[in-house]
Amino acid sequence: MMIRIAALLLAMALPARAEIAIQTVTSPGGITAWLVEEPGIPFTALEIRFRGGTSLDAPGKRGAVNLMTALIEEGTGDLDSQGFAAARDALAAEFRFTSDLDGVGVSARFLTENRDEALTLLRGALVAPRFDQDAVDRVRDQVLAGLRADEKDPETLASRQMMARSFGDHPYATSGDGTISSVTALTRDDIVAAHQGALAQDRIYVAATGDISAAELGSLLDDLLGGLPATGAAQPGRATLAAKGGLVVQPFPGPQSVIQFLQGGLPFEDPDYFAAVILNEILGGGRFSARLMTEVREKRGLTYGIGTGLANYDHVEMLVGQLASANDKVAEAVGVIRAEWARIAAEGVTETELANTKTFMTGSYPLRFDGNARIASILVGMQMMGLSPDYPKTRNERVEAVTMADVKRVAARLFRPDELLFVVVGEPVGLVSD
């Protein structure tokens, strides 16, 4: 009966293209946004990104951009923290402000019926936040609580160790959240400076999806963002990955160890990038049929889940992975991962794996564009990668164009067992740091 299902698969033609109508809108003041109109539900999802993020922290001010981002919604103009939250909630608008190594993000959802009032509030928060001292102190206490909790979180400990060992004196080497001492020392002036440096017009990307027209979007962009400074802090330079390989154990109590591993990746612009994506998908993609999931979980029961991913940051590219495993099984799990790394580098993949993965990637791509919030987030990410609005129509062709010869060549180029660095946080049996 397995034949029956296999036959069915062949009979079905896949929808290979994402049918999504992306418009570009430029405001009179010159701010560009991407838009997908979807009038079916009376709200708009708006995504704004400012390139740079926590990597723009001034020397000695680690954590300033992160704390500033958490303070954006703590009052503007006549409204203090309480007043701002009440005004926002009365409109049923939702604003979320986030920061990471490469950017500050703003995710907003607002109803059509009170769009102007919601955007007036958002404008105030972005352009003229109050940064009241009592709010700075209160939110700082929350960030400090998070930093103390991080010191007892094995996943965070592992990723900090990983980044510290890999990036020398680049901002990527340290957490954008800062340290307890650096955050404790931040002043209101530091927060104001971080705001000026991170939220500037020379680094804005905007996307909107929902119940809004191109004309409406175009006319609101200048109001919303035109009050920001023209230029901000200098972006950091390229990061160099110290790829020496090896294994590091950091002791931590518990029944399991967290294991993270990393080596260099490939930039999106590299002609081999799509072959690398396919290879990663076969080795460690999130799917149950990926090699590592099969070998480490399904065949041996060594973990609940394992995955790898190409992590492309603005200033470096990596191939990273993670799992958690019982302390007495860590050594076996690491051995299996190393063996799979060497096997795919030496042997590449099978015709079936390549075909199935292409089918998965091309078939799943159109399914991403589902929901206003999700679409707006994808659109703003595409802009930051420098893609054109017609990219969704051509992306699957680039996946299809990858040949078996490409994959074999890129497997040997991409997977470098000697450069694979493992960080183990836990009490692994029989493993010590190199």
């Binding site: 698969l9 149950f288 609940y304 078939g363 399914l367 919030a373």
Partner: protein, 443 residues
Amino acid sequence: MRKILAGAVGALLVALPGQAETVSDFTLDNGMQVVVIEDHRAPVVVHMVWYRVGSADEPAGHSGIAHFLEHLLFKGTDDMAPGEFSEVVEAQGGNDNAFTSWDYTAYHQRVAADRLGLMMQMEADRMRDLVLSEADVLTERNVILEERSQRTDSSPGALLGEQMQAAQYMNGRYGVPIIGWRHEMEVLSRQDALDFYAANYAPNNAILVVAGDVTPAEVLKLAETHYGPVAPSSDIVSRDRPAEPPQLAERRITLADARVSEPYMRRSYLAPERNPGDQRQAAALTYLAELLGGSGTTSVFARALQFDSNVAVYSAAFYDGTSVDPGTFGVLVMPQPGVTLADAEAAMDGVLAGFLEEGIDDADFARLKTQIAAAEIYARDDTEGLARQYGEALAVGLTLQDIADWPGILQSVTEDEVMAAAQQVLNRRNAVTGWLTTEEAQQ
């Protein structure tokens, strides 16, 4: 198999006024309930089968078998090899997974809309024709033990939650963790899984929820083809579960763990759930949770403990009334460094006493109503989330009418009803209070 004419299907589309989304439903002759939520914005469909069986329906001594079985449903049937289910879904560009709770077990896929029939074919196949090898069962048992290690045993907060839940239910089955107690998980057998499966996995114990770019007529036709021939079960476990005796004494727990960085206190109060035709009290408790701790800025807790005083770093209140048996209403306070858990708890109890005395701020209540109404609009952006809302409510015994009535009930709840619910529920004699502390603080 019951035949429903196209016209009858059309009539069903308007049968649920007050529903923002277009919803239809049918029941197959073998007892399987089918619900269709239309969303034609993208050519995508979510296919979910919900079984009205969860960990609270397990036989005593076999905790974790419902969740273990959920894992084993990916291990093959008479028609499919182990792992093939997910491989086929992935080869279609889709994704699939499953989850287990106290009251239900659900299997779901998200695929291009024209693949719906294939999903039904495979899901119907594993409804009755599971085939398990001893070796696969033993390997997968290690996987669920790793899952328990990762999600529960590695997290002091999760361990406290498990202990509190066990203390809250002296007799009710919600006191047993969904993942299972480790010593019972370690001896779960292939036969345990097959017995639980044979009794409870059947169309008359299942709800099919299809959401996305489909028409009710298509779904009905496919459902009749694939699920229609599946035989019902006459051995479905009764949900007439052991009930809680009245709680006579406050219960308190302290968990000390070297891995704790920020101590906190939590309390759970036994609380009524949504019941068919009777959801007003649950709606009132939904408001109560939002008023007390739903916002980090404007909630009663945040104002009193984080703004007007410097007691807490974080505070919250939570309630989910979608369950078969009575659930819990929860509160949490994480104190500032230097503030003891005893002082934090006393401050929180002071805030609650003040709230019960003074009642609700009218402006707060009006704002919440607006937000809850808007949440219905925002929810329509997430088709999979909608499918989950429907599946969960139906799986715990609510009806489509109850689901349709819920937004209206939320809009009509009064401040008096919220205060009456608060007076009833916020009683420490109905509660378990848990402290999570560092080991140093314990000594």
